[in-house]
Amino acid sequence: MTTHYLVLSALLFAIGGIGVLVRRNAIVVFMCVELMLNACNLAFVTFARQNGNIDGQVIAFFVMIVAAAEVVIGLAIIVTIFRTRRSASVDDASLLKY
């Protein structure tokens, strides 16, 4: 019964993961990561339901807070590099290699 939710969660996670791989814009990449985190949240909540305890739901809240903090940091970094390079493409930042 909860399987559908888990499948959805897995799909979302996969979509987020593939988004990270294929998108160039740093903001979009970052949003894909957020999508992955939210897929996790969905899984947590589903499992909470399945297991019959509320730990999963509590965890989801924690994750949201952490994600929010991550957004703050992430946007700061992305904005900084955008100001320097006038580009939000992650492929442009490839000076460090080999």
């Binding site: 990270v20 791989l21 294929v22 160039r24 992650v90 492929d91 490839s94 290699k97 080999y98």
Partner: protein
């Protein structure tokens, strides 16, 4: 009769001071070498003194020895423990070793004296005497040793001295090459001697004569033969017997006294000594090893004689003759107790007359500005009367002119051998004939006929310091043979050391082989006189027939060595060096380069694009999950 037992020397007397024989010349060499230029002034005198001193000691030991009962005449003097459990340094005083000692120190002293004059213009005369002293010390250790290890030290010591003296004029490339060649070829022989020693040690657990000889018969036949053949290989190296003969002719690059002492009178006979010394144990009468010794001896005596016929270089001619004469000794040594006395007797008389011949040749060279080509001699007998007379006596001795020393010893050998093995014996007779030819050729070309030398040369007789040794040597060349052989004097004396044949031979002056020998020698001499005395001798050697070239080229011995060993050796060396650099080191460096190269390529996967990093994480995660799944469900 078997050889006497080897006793430990207990009493005092000269025997217990026998070590002085070795130490005196050794000290001389050390002082002259370490003292350096400071000893230049009196160095040669010290050298002579030490050699004469060794002779005096040898004489005293000899006197003490003959004062003993024959059964007591083998005494070993232990000096010190050399390699614990393996060998001591000790001396064996017995008739055999003392005979050698007397020969070495006496002839050696004469040659030392001669060298004072011969080397007087050489700035390095001191060094020369140091080496001569070193040689005498090593040679005495060789013959006096009471075990194979000590013998080997002396054995290689004389090799070193020979190397140093052949290469004495090292600034001549030919001398340097000859010296090296002599050493290397000798090492091939030493290889055999070493293996023989290992085999003896593995068999008997000792290398001391006193323990090995009495037990030799207990070893299996095959082992005995193997040891014998290996010893023979060593002997061939040192005594320039086939197939290790090639170095001796080149060794003539050394100063002539060296050729006389080392490469004629003493060192080259060390092989004969080795065979005789080990004879009772490893070359008993009728043994395979003994047979091989005789065959080698015959082959070498013929080869040496043939080489001698074609040489225009007086020293090389004599060197061929030396090979040939040692071949006789080997031949005799191979047949057992019956031959030992003749081998040693010929060795001793040869020591004198060959030294006489060589020193005579040196005297000629001295007179002729070191010219060695006999084609540029001729008619020297008037100008060098003493040299001529002494050389002529030596000549008569070596061709076996009746009643001179070579006659007794060489004829003795031939008769004894024919008695044992007719084929070998008659071949030895042929060798004697050839000897008559080449020696006559030498005398004729040098002393008779018209002069063929340049106007620049002013032949003159050598100084007294050089002629007196010649005179002494020639006196011995006349009488020594008769003294040693008649009434079996030497054979009886050597008996305790080498054993005696069942019955002592008598002396038969008129026998078929004896007469045949004389006849053949006469024919040989006649041909030589006809060819070189009556006819014109061209200054430049004619091309000659195939046979002449064959003889001139030392029977293609060097060519054979070059084709069989040197060329393949050079190829092998080049191949090995290449293999080492490219093969082994190539693998090592290739491995390093491979790691470096893969590093250079692999680092490109670090593209710098964050998305490719994410991909590697993503794929990694998938692989990890898959692997986990596989492992977990297995």
């Amino acid at each position: 009769m078997e050889p006497a037992e080897i006793l430990s020397h207990t009493g005092g007397g000269a025997i217990s001071l026998a070590w002085l024989m070795i130490v005196l010349p050794l000290a001389g060499a050390a002082i002259l070498l370490i003292g350096g230029r400071a000893t230049n002034k009196w160095g040669h005198l010290l050298g002579v003194l030490m050699s004469v001193g060794a002779f005096v000691v040898a004489a005293l030991v000899f006197l003490q020895l003959i004062g003993l009962d024959p059964a007591q005449r083998r005494q070993s003097v232990n000096l010190y423990e050399f390699i614990p459990g393996v060998a001591n340094i000790g001396l064996l005083i017995d008739p055999l070793s003392i005979s050698f000692c007397l020969l070495i120190t006496f002839v050696g002293s004469l040659i030392h004296i001669y060298s004072i004059g011969y080397m007087s213009h050489d700035p390095d005369r001191r060094r020369f005497f140091a080496y001569l002293n070193l040689f005498v010390a090593a040679m005495l250790l060789l013959v006096l040793a009471d075990n194979y290890v000590a013998l080997f030290i002396g054995w290689e010591g004389v090799g070193l001295a020979s190397y140093l003296l052949i290469g004495f004029w090292q600034y001549k490339p030919s001398a340097a090459v000859a010296a090296k060649k002599a050493f290397v070829v000798n090492r091939v022989g030493d290889f055999g001697l070493l293996i023989a020693m290992f085999l003896i040690f593995a068999q008997f657990g000792t290398l001391s004569y006193a323990e090995v000889f009495p037990n030799a018969a207990q070893a299996s036949q095959g082992v005995q033969t193997a040891i014998g053949l290996l010893l023979l290989l060593g002997a061939c190296g040192k005594s320039a017997q086939l197939p290790l003969q090639s170095w001796l002719l080149d060794a003539m690059e050394g100063p002539t006294p060296v050729s006389a002492l080392i490469h004629a009178a003493t060192m080259v006979t060390a092989g004969v000594y080795l065979v005789v010394r080990s004879g009772a144990a490893f070359f008993p009468e009728g043994s395979t090893a003994g047979l091989v010794v005789t065959i080698v001896g015959v082959a070498t005596l013929l080869a040496g004689a043939i080489i001698g016929t074609a040489k225009d270089d007086i020293k090389k001619g004599l060197a061929g003759s030396t090979m040939s004469q040692i071949g006789y000794m080997m031949l005799a040594a191979g047949i057992g107790p019956a031959g030992y006395a003749f081998a040693i007797g010929h060795l001793i008389t040869h020591g004198f007359f060959k030294a006489d011949l060589f020193l005579g040749a040196g005297s000629v060279m001295h007179a002729m500005n070191d010219e060695v080509d006999m084609r540029r001699y001729g008619g020297l007998r008037k100008l060098l009367p003493i040299t001529f007379v002494t050389f002529f006596i030596g000549y008569l001795a070596i061709i076996g002119f009746p009643l001179l020393s070579g006659y007794f010893t060489k004829d003795g050998i031939i008769e004894t051998v024919i008695h044992h093995n007719a084929i070998l014996g008659w071949l030895a007779v042929v060798g004697a004939g050839i000897t008559g030819f080449y020696m006559t050729r030498m005398v004729v070309m040098t002393f008779f006929g018209p002069k063929r030398w340049d106007e620049k040369a002013h032949p003159h007789e050598s100084p007294a310091v050089m002629t007196w040794p010649l005179i002494v040597l020639s006196i011995f060349s006349v009488g020594l043979g008769a003294y040693l052989i008649l009434s079996n004097r030497l054979m009886v004396f050597l008996g305790p050391a080498v054993g005696l044949p069942a019955e002592l031979p008598g002396f038969h002056p008129i026998s078929v082989p004896g007469l045949a020998t004389l006849a053949l020698v006469a024919v040989g001499a006649g041909i030589a006189i006809a060819k070189y005395g009556r006819a014109e001798v061209p200054v430049v050697a004619p091309r000659g027939s195939f046979l002449t070239v064959f003889a001139r080229r030392d029977l293609y011995g060097d060519a054979l060595n070059e084709a069989l060993f040197m060329r393949p050796g050079q190829w092998l060396t080049r191949l090995a060096v290449f293999f080492d650099n490219r093969g082994i080191d190539g693998v090592v460096n290739g491995l390093a380069a491979g790691v470096g190269g893969s590093s250079g390529r692999l680092r490109k996967i670090q593209t710098g694009y964050v998305r490719s990093y994410a991909l590697s994480i993503f794929v990694g995660a998938a692989v990890l999950a898959g692997a986990w799944f596989v492992v977990g469900t297995l």
